[in-house]
Structures are given as structure tokens and as C-alpha cells.
């Protein structure tokens, strides 16, 4: 049994390459692509917080600090793979190809925000913690049954590992050797509860030992470590090697949600001292000569524009349709539900 779980990283905090076996793979193209996604989702995230403060969005769950984990993992996926996110993984889903307008809509309580773009298989964010893990296992298992090489990824946090559904999903994944990646973002907290109170184990990675499942613990703020680890796990899954648990150690800079006040339970000043995953990547890029100020500036303003445009579209979106309250409960509505709907709409003068 592999039982030591050192944190794997390719870049150190300062952006210096520590795993030189990978140097050749750290190309400008890749760096720029990852940077672009990370900057894009950060722009989205900050805007969303902003909108919430102005009352233009509902309660919102920010992910600042976790961009490397989300982008590195999602960027490694193929279009036909399946993604099962939580409420904090819209950085990953945006990277995977989710529509930005719909992502905003979700946070405005619009069910349209649950519906993925086109042909992408993105499940609506799981709000009840850990429940999406067995779903991902099932979807992955279905791919295996079909003989495809597609995989599913379940995103979940450190707190989620305490739920029975995590355990049952892990067990099914290993028993049926489903091509699923259990991608854990260990950001150290479940709302206010620090990981030391969440579990008595030193790592989350070691939990895979209970299932005879391969696992790895990585620096979740090192986008390269995330990307290449994910790639390896994906290859294993696509080639019939079964599931992998990845523990990406990261940090949430901000509040749990906009309704949360982190200063109640931790020192936010010290929290901000952590190395920002984007800055780390930038440091690497600068060092390598991949960082062209002008190019970066263009990217940044492109993202600003994209996000502003998405906000505009979101805010001019057709108002919620009361029919949607009823119409999707069943493929064909039972008579009694039709009656409830008709009565309601009639009384409202519709």
C-alpha cells in the first residue's frame, strides 16, 4: 500500500520549478491557456461578489484562491466527459465550457442556471453535500458499460468527506472500477469548521486506502501539479484502470458565501498572506519569459468585457416564467398538477 502522502508540486510558492522532470511540458501555450482560464474565472468571481453586494445577485459562493485547482482539473477534461460540481465549482464548470450567463442566472435563483450548455454534461451544482459523488460514479460506470473512454469527475470539499455519501460513492467506484475522478478541494474549512475538527486523519488522500483506490495529494494552488496529476488519473480511468482520489490542498481566500463572515472563525488578515495561485503562475511565467505585459493586459480586458456583457445579458434575461414552476416536475404532468397550475394561473388572470 502506498501510504505516504507528501504534497506533490511542480512549482514552489515563488513559481520556481521543483519537479524538473516536467520542465519540458511547461510550455508557454499551456501556461497562457491556464492563466487565461484562471484570470477569466477570477474576473467572474469578483464581479459576482460585487453584484451580490449591490443586491443584483442572490447569496453567492466565491472560490478565490481555488482557481488553480478548478482550472487545472477542468482543463484536462475532454468535451464528452461528465462534470458533477458543487456550489463552489463554477470556476471549473466555466473552464469546462459552461455558459457564463447561465452561471450568473443560477446565482439569481433561476433554474435556467442549472441547465448546461449544448452537449456538455454538467450536472446542476450539488447543494446537499457529497450527494453528487455517487452520481458521478454512476455516470462513469455507464460510460464504462457503453465501452466509451469518457470519464466523470466529482468535485467536492474537505467537509464532504464526512458524509456517508462520500464513503458509499468511493466504495462503489472501487468495487465497480468506475472511470471516475474523485477530485477533492481541501480548502481547510467547511464553512467555519477547520479540517482538524472534521477528521482525525492527517490527509484526505489516505482515505482512499480504505477502498484499495489509488490516490494522491497535491498542491492545489499549483496549476501545473493539478493539471498533470489530473491528466494521469484521467489516462488511468480511460484505459480501464478505475478511479482515483485526488486531494488538492488549497485555500479559500474569502468568505464561505456572501452570507458568511469568516472573521468569526479565522484571522482573515493571515488568510490573505497565502500565496495566490494566479500570482504564483505569473511569477513562473515571468521567470520563463512567457509573460508579455501587453498580451496579459489584452486578456484581462477581454475578460472584463466578457463578464460585463454576461451581466448585461443576465439582467436583460426574460423574467422567470411561472410555468416553469410546474412544467418540469414530470415528463407529462399528472391531471391534478395541471389543475393546480391552471387554477393558479387563472386566479392570477393568466
Amino acid at each position: 500500500m502506498e501510504t505516504e502522502f507528501p504534497i506533490y508540486r511542480i512549482l514552489d510558492d515563488a513559481g520556481q520549478v521543483t519537479d524538473t522532470s516536467k520542465t519540458d511540458l511547461l510550455t508557454k501555450d499551456l501556461s497562457l491557456a491556464l492563466f487565461t482560464h484562471m484570470n477569466r474565472i477570477r474576473t467572474f468571481d469578483r464581479k459576482a461578489i460585487n453584484l451580490q453586494r449591490q443586491g443584483r445577485l442572490g447569496t453567492y459562493a466565491p472560490f478565490e484562491g481555488q482557481e488553480a485547482a478548478q482550472v487545472g482539473s477542468a482543463y484536462a477534461l475532454q468535451d464528452k466527459d461528465w462534470v458533477f460540481p458543487t456550489y463552489r465549482d463554477h470556476g471549473a464548470t466555466l473552464t469546462f465550457g459552461a455558459d457564463m450567463v447561465r452561471t450568473f442566472l443560477y446565482w439569481n435563483g433561476r433554474v435556467e442556471g442549472c441547465v448546461a450548455t449544448d452537449e456538455l454534461h454538467i450536472f446542476p451544482p450539488a447543494v446537499p453535500i457529497a450527494t453528487q459523488i455517487p452520481h458521478a460514479v454512476g455516470a462513469a460506470w455507464a460510460e464504462k458499460r457503453k465501452g466509451s473512454t469518457q470519464v466523470a469527475v466529482a468535485y467536492f470539499g474537505d467537509g464532504a468527506t464526512s458524509e456517508g455519501d462520500f464513503h458509499e460513492g468511493m466504495n462503489f467506484a472501487s468495487v465497480f472500477q468506475a472511470p471516475v475522478i474523485l477530485f477533492n478541494q481541501n480548502n481547510g474549512y467547511a464553512i467555519s469548521v477547520p479540517i482538524q475538527k472534521q477528521m482525525h486523519s492527517e490527509t484526505i488522500a489516505q482515505k482512499a486506502l480504505a477502498y484499495g483506490m489509488p490516490s494522491v495529494r497535491i498542491d492545489g494552488n499549483d496549476v501545473f501539479a493539478v493539471y498533470f496529476t489530473m491528466q494521469k488519473a484521467l489516462e488511468r480511468a480511460r484505459s480501464g484502470g478505475g478511479p482515483t482520489l485526488i486531494e488538492a490542498v488549497t485555500w479559500r481566500f474569502g468568505a464561505h458565501t456572501t452570507a458568511d463572515d469568516p472573521s468569526k472563525y479565522r484571522d482573515q488578515e493571515r488568510s490573505r498572506d497565502r500565496v495566490d495561485p494566479l500570482e504564483r503562475l505569473e511569477a513562473f511565467m515571468k521567470e520563463q519569459g512567457f509573460y508579455d505585459e501587453q498580451e496579459i493586459e489584452t486578456i484581462r480586458s477581454r475578460h472584463q468585457e466578457e463578464v460585463e456583457a454576461a451581466v448585461k445579458t443576465m439582467e436583460s434575461f426574460p423574467p422567470p416564467d411561472v410555468n416553469d414552476l410546474f412544467d418540469h416536475t414530470f415528463a407529462t404532468l399528472p391531471d391534478d398538477l395541471v389543475r393546480q397550475k391552471t387554477d393558479y394561473l387563472t386566479a392570477r388572470g393568466n
Binding site: 461528465w82 433554474v111 435556467e112 442549472c114 441547465v115 448546461a116 454534461h121 450536472f123 446542476p124 447543494v127 446537499p128 450527494t131 459523488i133 455517487p134 452520481h135 458521478a136 460514479v137 454512476g138 455516470a139 462513469a140 460506470w141 455507464a142 460510460e143 458499460r145 457503453k146 466523470a152 456517508g164 455519501d165 458509499e168 460513492g169 466504495n171 462503489f172 468495487v175 465497480f176 416553469d324 412544467d327 418540469h328 416536475t329 414530470f330 415528463a331 399528472p334 391531471d335 391534478d336 398538477l337
Partner: protein
């Protein structure tokens, strides 16, 4: 495979369940059977007996002992092209999967505006009366009939079992399929060999009558019928309705009957508080208030946990208790 038309076999209810499963496993390659002991063992009630031999380990799947895992994983299978037919060993052991059913099975269609449906059938034996160990005798159907997005079906005869189960498997939405353990081998009746469906959402008026409407499902249908027979000797004519589908309720059949008889007695094994009887009562209140000549009577389990089996005969409604309620209602 040409199936001879109109061939019939005498079957028990549990055999009819197996027959329905075999039928759909044969004609729909996306169907899978998942559950604890459904493989070699053929299920603790033998409902899946012989299916693994016939369809292979790949389609008849023994899972770990993990109801949330079974249902949760089946959601993933269901949204990705398969039709999981899940066996929960006893209804009393479905509760670990309650969250998955409540927040996902029943809501995914709504949450994705119809992009994903969950065409899953969950089969569960339920009910008391067979001297089973503790927690094996629950009839908590109302926990599921009250869950928007889920249909609930409960056959009382072998014929209905086959037709309703095939309909459930063909339904694009999730269906909880309740099988009365007491009815599993209670009697045999001819069941057609070919595939047929019984429409979900329609009740079955099995005996016509003038004075009182009896509404029951599962094992309680026989109890109602016995009471009706006894009532007839007293000159009371009962109409007996086998509900067949517990959600959605068949408003037309029920209200037409009650409007004719002016009286209703509802019989179920579950306790009175929160029982499906109250939904039926509400339906009658809403549709037939002016026709009622007496309060609607309910004959149910008591508001206590289903007891260990030494006391279960006191818990389950009996023909005598139903008859008393009929008499009370007629005398009102």
C-alpha cells in the same frame, strides 16, 4: 422472439414481478437490475430468481450493502442512458437512501428543466403480516407519495403486478414500486405471457356497490373485500376500489364512486397520522363534499411504530375493524 398471444400462466404476485422484469430485460437492453442479493441468490423473496443466469452478471448486479450508494449510483446510470431497476430489500431499509430520492431522484428533471430525467424504478417489499423481524414491516408509502416528482405504484394482484411493473419501467420518470410481502404468495391467477401495461394513475373499481366506497391497496384490498363480503350479508353494498397507483391519485374514479355511495372507508396499514388516507380524505373533501352522508372513515394502523410481530395482528387493519367502520358509517 415471437411471443404467443394470449398464453397465460398461473402465477403468484412475486412470480409476476419476475416475469415483468424478464420481459423488460429482454426487450430493453438499457435495463439493469441492481440491489443487495439480487444475483445468485435471486433476491431474498426470489423476485429476481434466475435472472442473473439468464441475463448475466453485467445486467443483474449484486451491489454493496449501501442503499444510498445504490440509488445515488443509479441516478448517474439513469441520466447516462440506462434504466436501473433497483431492489431495496425491504421498505424499512430505504431510509438511508431517502436523501438521494428526496433531493435528486425526484428533482433532477425539474432542476434541469427536463434535460435530464431519472427513469428509475425502485422496487420495495413492504408491509406487515408475515411475522418478519423488526423494521421489516413498515408501510411508509406516504413518505414517497408526498414527494413531488416521484410516482408510487402498488399492485394487489399478480396480473396488476406485471402490467404495472412494465408500465413503471417504461415510464420516463422515477417510480417507487411497492410489493406487499403478504400478497407475494397469497394466491395465483392467470397472467398473460406477453407484455402488457396497466396505466399508472388509474384506480381499479373491483367490486361495484351502492352504499359505501372502500378504498385500499396492496394487501389491504383483500381485507376490504372480505369486509365487503361480510357487509353484504348485512345488506350493505360496498364498492371496492383498488387504488393501484398511490401517486398520482385517480381523482375521477374515487370521486365518482364516493358521489354515488355518499360514504367512504379508507383502509391502510400505515398509521393514521400522515397516512395516505388523509390525502384521499382531502380529495373527497375537495370533490364530493356535498355528497357525503357521513364522515369519511379510516381504518389504519395506529400512531405507533410497527410493533414486533407478536403484536402485529393488533396493528394491521382486519376485516372486522373495516366492517365496524362500514357499519358506523352507514349508521351515522
Amino acid at each position: 422472439m415471437a411471443t404467443p398471444i394470449n398464453r397465460q400462466t398461473e402465477m403468484t404476485l412475486v412470480q409476476a414481478v419476475t416475469d415483468a422484469l424478464r420481459t423488460k430485460l429482454t426487450d430493453d437492453e438499457t435495463t439493469l437490475v441492481l440491489g443487495e442479493d439480487v444475483g445468485k441468490n435471486g433476491g431474498v423473496f426470489r423476485a429476481t430468481d434466475g435472472l442473473q443466469e439468464e441475463f448475466g452478471e453485467d445486467r443483474i448486479i449484486d451491489t454493496p450493502l449501501s442503499e444510498a450508494g445504490i440509488v445515488g449510483t443509479s441516478i448517474g446510470l439513469a441520466v447516462n442512458g440506462f434504466k436501473p431497476i433497483v431492489e431495496i430489500q425491504f421498505l424499512g431499509f430505504i431510509y438511508p437512501a431517502y436523501e438521494q430520492i428526496m433531493t435528486h431522484v425526484s428533482r433532477i428533471r425539474m432542476r434541469t428543466m427536463g434535460r435530464y430525467g431519472v427513469p428509475m424504478v425502485i422496487r420495495a417489499p413492504y408491509g406487515a403480516g408475515i411475522r418478519a423481524p423488526e423494521i421489516h414491516s413498515d408501510s411508509t408509502e406516504a413518505l414517497f407519495t408526498s414527494m413531488p416528482g416521484l410516482k408510487v405504484v402498488c399492485p394487489s394482484t399478480p396480473y396488476d403486478a406485471k402490467g404495472l411493473l412494465i408500465a413503471a419501467i417504461e415510464d420516463p420518470d422515477p417510480v417507487l414500486f411497492l410489493e406487499s410481502m403478504r400478497s407475494y404468495r397469497a394466491f395465483k391467477e392467470p397472467v398473460p405471457s406477453e407484455a402488457y401495461t396497466i396505466e399508472i394513475g388509474k384506480a381499479n373499481c373491483i367490486t361495484e356497490g351502492q352504499d359505501v366506497t372502500l378504498i385500499a391497496w396492496g394487501a389491504m384490498v383483500q381485507v376490504a373485500q372480505k369486509a365487503a363480503t361480510e357487509a353484504a350479508t348485512r345488506g350493505i353494498s360496498c364498492e371496492v376500489i383498488d387504488l393501484r397507483t398511490l401517486y398520482p391519485l385517480d381523482r375521477e374514479t374515487i370521486s365518482a364512486s364516493v358521489q354515488k355511495t355518499g360514504r367512504a372507508v379508507i383502509i391502510h396499514e400505515a398509521q393514521a397520522t400522515g397516512g395516505l388516507g388523509n390525502d384521499l380524505l382531502a380529495l373527497i373533501n375537495d370533490t364530493s363534499f356535498l355528497y357525503l352522508r357521513a364522515p369519511v372513515a379510516r381504518v389504519t394502523g395506529f400512531d405507533v411504530p410497527v410493533p414486533l410481530f407478536a403484536l402485529e395482528d393488533h396493528y394491521i387493519p382486519t376485516p372486522t375493524r373495516v366492517l365496524e367502520a362500514i357499519q358506523r358509517t352507514v349508521d351515522f
